[in-house]
Structure formats: C-alpha cells, structure tokens
C-alpha cells in the first residue's frame, strides 16, 4: 500500500544501488530536503532555531560521526565530548587568528584538526578492544578537557578561560556572534549536516564502509580476507573525528556563542551522543538523526507541555522529565534493542507487504 514496488523497474545497476531504491522513499527524501532548505528557513524564529533546530542539526552531525566509529567500525569511544572540544577550540583559534577567512573554511579545518587528534587517540585501538578501548578514549576525554583548561593559549589568555565566538560571516551574512538571523544560522548548520550525512552514507555503503563493518563483525576474519586493520580502524577514527569536530565547532561558534571546556564538553556530552546512537540505532545514518531528535527534542517538548501548558512547578517538571525520558529509553531498548532505526525498518517492511502479510 504505502511502499508499492509494482511498476518501479530498475534497468541498471546504478539504479539498483541507489540509497533510496523505492520510488516512494526517494520522493519522500526529496520532499524533506525541499522542506528543510526552502520552506523551514522562511518560517523559523529565534526560539525555534536556538531551542530546537540548531541543537538537533548539530547533535545529528556528532551522532553520525560517532556512529561511524562505534556503529560501523565497532570501536567503542567515550571521548566524543573531548573531540568536540577539539573542534570548538580549533575553530576558536582559527577564527581569532584569521578573521578575514570565511567561517565556512574554519569549521572544515576544525574538523580536520579533530580528525588528526582523533587518529592519535585511536592508535591504541590496534592493540586493545572493547571495554579497554572505551577506557582509553575516556582518558582522551579527560585529558583534552584538562588541556583546554590548563593551557591559556587555547583560550587566548582570557581571564575566566571562556571562549567567545566573535562575529564572522559567510558571503557577508553573519552566522556567528550576536547579530545573526535565525535562517542564516539554520541554513549554515543544515548545509554541514547534509554534507556530512551524504558523505557518511556513501562511505558506509562503499568499500571503506564494508571494511569497517568487517572489522566490527570479526576482526580476525576480516584480516584473513584482506582487510588491513590499521587502515580500516584509523580511517574510521579519522572520519569520525572529522564529523565530531565539525559538530563541536558549530556547537560553540554558531549555537552557544561562548563555551568552556569542562562545562560544555564534559563527560556528559560523550554519554549524551553515545545514548543518541544507541537509541537511534547503531550502524545507521537515519538512526543518528532519530536518536538526536529523541534526546534533543523530547525534553524540550516535555518541558513545554508540563510547564507551559499544565503550569506545573519547574522543578517537578524537570524531575518528571528525567523519569519519562529515562523510562522511554529503557522501554525502547527492551522492545527494540537495535534502536529507532530498526523500528522504522520493520515498519517499512510491514508497510510494503500490507495488507497481505505472509
């Protein structure tokens, strides 16, 4: 009914291999892209951008990055917060050192710097696996935050150790600093998210991604069939670090406007992004979106319902929010351990067969 394949003929391998082989899916994707790029920018205001869209877009990038490392390559990482901090501080140093360069390039360069740092901390992954690697990356988290607190060069010797993003523009339109318009910051982050999602999706369904997945599923078997574990693991760390760095740079420069290593990029951030991909679905690009949406939007929605509509005291609402979100996470993971992406996949399968299940 909803996913009719009848009449949807493929006449070449390219058509058969496309990301959305079903026509309905493909049109839905085009519709979403059209809405995101051409409709939403005209409708949003400051509240929508700052409370809902920017965190969703930015955390989606981080989730895609971590999903490549954990979900596709199987290298457990608890250092996401630290790597986001690398992106943020790299972007800050670049912004203040080269003010005349467009912020667009600074964000990409910040991703590059983070990729290098991430590779560095990924080197032990050749020797250690699983929980041991998680602990090694946890060390990266604490070391990086400590480093950014400790060395005044990173925060340009300011009195409090906070970093502030000055006004920077793309094509003459401010995307950082206080005088931004809602649509500009939204589009800026959306462009990065779209690019990251496209790159991520295409990497993971190509040879690189297959090597990652082979390493994830059984590294010895992968080595026997000719996958070089060094290259596979290091490339996963590099690509993941690149995306996570971009998200950190955007989080600091566009969304928050000011940041501090311990406060904005603490261990909580690592867990938050990890929960996003676990709930969304490991090894799925759509899952990264779904998980980010779940953990960013649900608390805001609950707060608006409980406080704004029902008029409950803020502290009771905040505590109830913990209970509801926590309870939903547990429920989801019991009912569907593979996350929201798997739920969506199952729903699609069912809809394709409906109304004639077999």
């Amino acid at each position: 009914m909803f996913y009719r394949e009848a009449g949807d003929f493929k006449t070449s391998y390219a058509e058969d291999n496309q990301t959305f082989p079903i026509k309905f899916d493909r049109y839905r994707y085009y519709a979403v892209m059209f809405a995101a790029f051409a409709v939403v920018p005209f409708l949003i205001n400051d509240y929508w951008v700052n409370a809902i869209f920017l965190p969703f877009l930015i955390y989606s990038i981080a989730a895609i990055g971590l999903n490549i490392l954990v979900g596709y390559c199987g290298q457990v990482s608890l250092g996401t917060g630290g790597f986001m901090a690398v992106g943020a501080y790299a972007c800050y140093k670049l912004m203040t050192s080269f003010p005349e360069v467009s912020i667009f390039f600074h964000v990409i360069l910040a991703g590059g710097v983070t990729a290098l740092v991430c590779i560095l901390f990924g080197l032990p992954s050749l020797r250690i696996k699983g929980f041991y690697l998680a602990v090694a990356t946890l060390a990266a988290q604490f070391f990086l935050v400590w480093l950014f607190n400790r060395v005044p060069w990173f925060y340009n010797y300011s009195a409090s150790g906070q970093i502030n993003s000055p006004e920077r523009t793309v094509f003459g339109i401010a995307v950082t600093g206080p005088h931004t318009s809602a649509w500009a910051t939204y589009l800026f982050c959306l462009v990065f998210l779209t690019a990251c999602a496209l790159i991520g999706r295409n990497l993971t369904r190509g040879m690189v991604g297959r090597k990652w997945m082979a390493i994830r599923d059984m590294d010895i078997a992968a080595e026997i069939i000719g996958v070089n574990p060094l290259k596979a693991k290091i490339s996963a760390f590099g690509v993941s670090g690149f995306f996570v760095g971009i998200s950190g740079a955007l989080l600091f420069a566009v969304y928050l406007g000011a940041a501090e290593a311990g406060d904005s990029f603490g261990i909580n951030k690592s867990f938050l992004v990890l929960f996003m991909i676990i709930i969304g679905g490991l090894g799925s690009i759509f899952g990264s979106f779904a998980g980010a949406a779940f953990l960013v939007l649900l608390p805001v929605l609950l707060k608006n319902v409980l406080v704004g509509v029902l008029g409950w005291p803020t502290d009771m609402a905040a505590h109830l929010e913990f209970i509801i979100v926590g309870g939903l996470i547990i429920t989801f993971l019991i009912l569907e351990p593979h996350g929201l992406a798997q739920l969506w996949r199952v729903a699609k399968e069912k809809l394709r067969l409906w109304p004639f299940p077999h």
Binding site: V32, Y47, N50, P178, D315
Partner: protein, 427 residues
C-alpha cells in the same frame, strides 16, 4: 520522519508565549542538579518579593508583575533555551545566577536590547559600561570580592602580608578562575605568595586538594565554590583542623547550607557578603503575611531570612527599584526593556529607598553610571556562629582596592571590545 514532524508541530503549539500585559521579570532558576541547594532559596526569594509587590502594593506603579520561571539546572544549553523561550514575553531584565549562562547571554541580550543583571557573578569586566552596554553587575563583582578578602587578611595580619601565603581554592570553571588575575596582581602589590588549587565539577571529592593545603600550610585560604562543593570544603577544612578564622569564602560559599553539615567544626568560618544577613527586616514580616500565609510562596516558605533567600529578595528589590525609576523617568507605567536599561544605568540606591522597601541598611548605598555598571564594589565580611546557627556581619561595607581592580577591568574589557569590534559608548 513523520513522527519527528508531528513532534515538531506539537512543540510549536506548546512554545506559545504568555500574554504581554504585565511587567515581566523572567527567572532562569535551577531547582534541580548539583547546584540546586543554592538555586532554590534564591529563586524563592526572587519570586516571593514580586508576589509581595503584587499582593501588597498592586504591583509596581499600578502594573502587576509576572515572574515566569524556567528551569536551567545550571546548564548553559538549557539556559540559552530558557532565554529564547522567555525573551519575547516582554522580558524586562534577566538574572540567570550562573556565570556560564551569563557568558552565553552577554552578546545575545546586547543584540536584543534587554538588560542583564549579574549581581556578584558573571563577567567582571562588564563593570565597564563603555563596552558592555546592556550588562550590569552592581553592587559588587568577583574582583571586588578578591580584593576585599585580601584587605581583610591584611587587617588581620597587622597591615602587612609580606611573606604570607594565600591559597585560592576554586571551582575549576569560568566562575572559579575569575579572581585569579586580581589575586596575582594583589600578590605583587602586597608581597604575599599566591597559589591556586582547582576543584573539578561538581566537587564532592576534595581529598587531594586538602592534602595539598595541609602540606603547604597557607596562612589564609580564599574559597570560590558553589553548590555541593561548599559543604565538602568546609567539612574537609574542619577535618584537618584548619583555623576557620583564616578560611574565607566568596559570597556564593557562605550560606547556611554550606556550614550546617559540618556542625560545630564550621564555627568561625567567614564569607564575604554584598548585602546584609538575618531576617530582622520589615520586608520579611510582610512576605510572611502577604505571601507565605496566603499560600502564594514560590517554594515551601521555609527559607525566609537565609542568606540566599535574602539575596533573591535583594536581586528582586534592585530590579523593582530600577523599574520604578524607569516608570518615573518615562512618565508611563508600561515600561519596556529599553527604558529599564536606561533606568538601571542611572540607578541610585540610598538609605531612604532601602528603608521605604522595608530593607533598612540591607546593602551598601551606590550609584550606577554609564561608564560604571558595577557600583562601588562594597563588600563586608560575615562570620558563622555554629552555636547560635547564624551569620553576622563582622565588618562594615568597605570598597575594594580600585587601583588594582580598575586597570584589570579596563584591560579585559578592551580586549573583549577589540575581539568583537565593539565601539566604546558613553561619550
């Protein structure tokens, strides 16, 4: 994706702003999280004072006040969300009670034209109104606090700190690091040894820090803590029998919550204050009568007279006075954020105003000007009496060492102005 869109659509209907009729003083409070012990009494005091004005006087100048609360949990991202959610409701002033959130909001409020009052916290160099047009930190700031603390130690050691050792035990974040430049400058001026020991968030574990203090035996310890780390530090100090006479906290480390867990061990602990302590003021009788007894209290109504409740009342009182002066200056009772900002910039708090509000001698007298958004930086020292379970001021309100603090403020604000292309105002 459909689910997501549905969620967003539902969110849209939920995010609708409240009616724009009254004078709105949003409260970005935190009643949860590791700093809730400090956030709850402050938020209660802030809300109760405005409720009192509504109940007793019919609002400010005939306009009812509204205090919409938004829970931040001391988290900067939630703070930004709260600011965006409330700013279109006609918000007159923001007081987020968090240095981290203050840093995020400084550029935003300046662009939106809403004043930000960070009383005794936030960015110290915001005192320079030439650079920070919409940020106010009267009556005192951290650097005033650091200077007042050193002045007190100076007095205690007979006018000279030559060869003495002063340690700063501080929260390892923006808030705790703020006083370091001042203390370094003061150590050069007075010739004492200075070192800083950081405590990481949230600070429930301080064994290593106190081991270091035990080894180095500083003559005096200044303490910049907040939330749960305060009581841990005071307990640890009591455990190693550090002389409480020589242990002094900033005003955020000097409430009942911080000293009571240590029992008698906390006797003699000192803390700086920029307003008075105790519940011996007419306003508290009115709050009891009009707010608590009629069941309109923001919290449980059991915090009246505690240090942080008083601070919430004081914050609300300063905001209400600015609103009153704005109404007078503009000849209208329905003021907006721009009028509020102008009134804050010419705010004058004297003994008469404080007495009229039922708070005689509650804080120092001060004036705000275009170039000076921080007042005179008066601070006093309070001491805890464990036997009587009460704080009392042991000194008068005295000004900070402007010859040290002033140049630092100029330098830091000039750096901020250069980084952000801000033109100096107040010509």
């Amino acid at each position: 994706m459909k689910l997501k869109l549905a969620t967003l659509a539902l969110g849209a209907t939920m995010a609708a702003a409240p009616a724009m009729a009254d004078l709105v003083f949003p409260s970005l409070s935190y009643r949860t999280g590791p700093f809730a012990a400090g956030g709850i009494p402050f938020a209660d005091g802030y809300a109760d004072y405005f409720t009192l004005l509504n109940e007793r006087d019919g609002g400010i100048g005939g306009e009812l006040t509204q205090v919409p609360e938004c829970e931040t949990a001391y988290n900067t991202e939630k703070g930004v969300e709260c600011y965006e959610a409330t700013k279109d409701s006609g918000a007159l002033i923001y007081q987020p009670l968090s240095t981290g959130i203050t840093y995020q909001l400084i550029p935003k409020v300046t662009a939106d034209g809403i004043p930000l009052h960070t009383m005794g916290y936030g960015r110290t160099s915001a005192k320079n109104g030439k650079v920070f047009s919409h940020v106010f930190n009267y009556p005192a700031n951290y650097w005033d606090g650091a200077s007042a603390g050193v002045n007190h130690f100076l007095e205690k050691s007979g006018g000279s700190l030559e060869g003495k050792k002063i340690t700063l035990l501080h929260f390892n974040g923006a808030y705790g690091r703020e006083p370091i430049p001042t203390l370094e400058a003061l150590s050069e001026k007075h010739g004492f040894d200075f070192n800083a020991i950081p405590i990481d968030y949230p600070g429930q574990e301080q064994k290593s820090q106190w081991l270091q203090i035990r080894r180095e035996r500083p003559d005096f310890v200044l303490f910049w803590g907040w939330g749960v780390m305060n009581q841990v530090a005071i307990q640890e100090a009591a455990n190693i029998r550090f002389d409480m006479e020589n242990f002094m906290g900033i005003w955020w480390s000097g409430s009942e919550n911080d000293v009571k867990p240590a029992g008698d061990g906390a006797n003699g602990y000192k803390a700086l204050q920029f307003h008075n302590v105790g519940n011996d003021y007419p306003v508290f009788d009115d709050i009891q009568k009009y707010v608590v007894d009629s069941g309109k209290a923001a919290g449980a109504g059991d915090q009246i007279g505690t240090v942080l409740y008083n601070r919430g009342v004081y914050a609300a009182f300063l905001a209400a006075e600015a609103a009153k002066q704005a109404q007078k200056a503009n000849g209208t009772s329905a003021i907006n954020a721009a009028m509020m900002r102008d009134a804050m910039e010419s705010l004058e708090i004297n003994a008469e105003i404080m007495t009229a509000a039922g708070l005689p001698n509650f804080g120092p007298e001060f004036n705000v000007t275009c170039t000076n958004h921080g007042g005179e930086g008066m601070a006093a020292v309070a001491q805890w009496d464990a036997g009587a379970a009460s704080w009392s001021l042991i000194s008068d309100f005295a000004p900070a060492d402007a010859s040290v603090v002033g140049p630092l403020i100029d330098a830091d604000s000039a750096a901020y102005a250069a980084e952000n292309n801000i033109e100096m105002g107040c010509n």
